[in-house]
Symmetry: C2
Subunit: 250 residues, 2 copies
């Protein structure tokens, strides 16, 4: 069943107008009729089953019928910070990380990032990625849309995230040195609603200087298994491993 | 360090000519010189450290210096069978699944597969995907190149894989019914070198008939967490979860 996010809080059984974009998708793209059901997530992250009650031209009215108890959110908040990669990889990361349950996505200008986002282009790029996050959140039946942001240095990233309970960095050298226990230890220390920030390098990886800077801020280097993962694959590994640990195994 | 796969067995300390494609990549693309080191995987899946001993025009000679004890292969053989998806998604699955340690990739014509591979085009398509698997295996420092194949029906898939120790199917309905324990149980029952086949639907999912047909062949429906994953994301989730379980946690 199709799922949409509402931007204003609605009351059960009270008809309301859908915004233009949602009405267009539901009525024109999916050819919904009066009575067609869909799921709607309120701004408080509660999902509801509703149905189309009226269609007039481009406009559609919906009534929420019943609250859905099930949430599809992870018990912990997983934040990923990715050294800005080239081109379309940002889109792949945002789409797949959203499907895999990420809470927030931060891109940062790493030493070896070839791409940079000048101030003039930043808002447009973030708006596009935020739109991809919303579509992926609807498609994967999330209860929230992950927020996508950008910071222009590692120092800014480290200071912005300093109150997080736990911070790790996925580092190729840790994997080479056969570091195998940090991720499981980190997961084991998290309690419901805790946040975990995981930092990933861009193509070409993080520099030794960047990793030392992180270690000075108590960010633990962590291996993600014995194979070398591309910059866009490593965050997906982390999120899938976390989902397995928190949602299936425990 | 760059890694290549050798197609014929070589002897330690005995110089040998690289094939044309590898020589081109090492000498022209990476600008290797005499003395430049690289890793080479023999047909028996043993990796060696070697160096360039001679460059003449387009040709390059290499000497293997020492065997590398570390293997980056999973302790179990993970086979994925994917309902044939649309267009470029086959390439994404092959590249990412190879990075994530897959043993073999089978595409099969599922009921809801929009694409089909007619006999005349099949070999060309498989050769292209096999090339992507090889590049990804080199890049991620695998010890083997996963084999990519195609079968034209579910019945063929089920009969071809009937001797595998364990077979599961990732099914959206299992996830909706809150099935959460099958994957961990399946992983827990595997012993080193065992094979696990996991079947995934194409866009639009598997039909109820297909899943019953699988269940008649003792293929267990399995949930992959509470979110709905796209056809190309589900196999990556399975492989990352398996890597976490077998390579980091246990």
């Amino acid at each position: 069943m199709q799922r949409y996010f509402l931007t204003t809080k609605q009351t059960l059984t009270q008809p309301f107008d859908l915004d233009q974009q949602t009405a267009h998708h539901l009525v024109t793209v999916l050819r919904a009729e009066v009575g067609t059901q869909a799921e709607f997530v309120q701004p408080d992250q509660q999902a509801y089953l509703g149905h189309v009650s009226l269609i007039q031209g481009n406009q559609a009215q919906v009534v929420l019928d019943q609250r859905l108890a099930k949430s599809s959110e992870m018990p912990v908040k997983l934040i990923i910070a990715c050294g800005l990669p080239k081109g379309e990889k940002t889109q792949l990361i945002v789409q797949k990380a959203t499907e895999l349950g990420v809470f927030k996505i931060i891109f940062f200008a790493a030493k070896r990032s070839v791409a940079r986002w000048p101030l003039a282009k930043r808002n447009r790029k973030l708006a596009r990625l935020q739109q991809i996050a919303q579509s992926a959140a609807e498609q994967s039946h999330r209860n929230l849309i992950p927020c996508v942001t950008y910071v222009d240095s590692l120092a800014a990233l480290l200071s912005e995230t300093s109150t997080k309970t736990s911070r790790i960095v996925a580092w190729e050298e840790s994997a080479k040195q056969n570091e195998q226990s940090q991720l499981a230890t980190t997961f084991g220390n998290l309690r419901p609603n805790d946040s975990l920030l995981t930092i990933f390098g861009p193509e070409g990886g993080l520099t030794v200087d960047e990793v030392s800077q992180m270690q000075q801020h108590q960010v633990q280097p962590t291996g993600l298994g014995p194979r070398i993962l591309r910059t866009e694959t490593a965050p997906l590994y982390l999120l899938a491993a976390a989902s397995y640990y928190f949602e299936l195994e425990n």
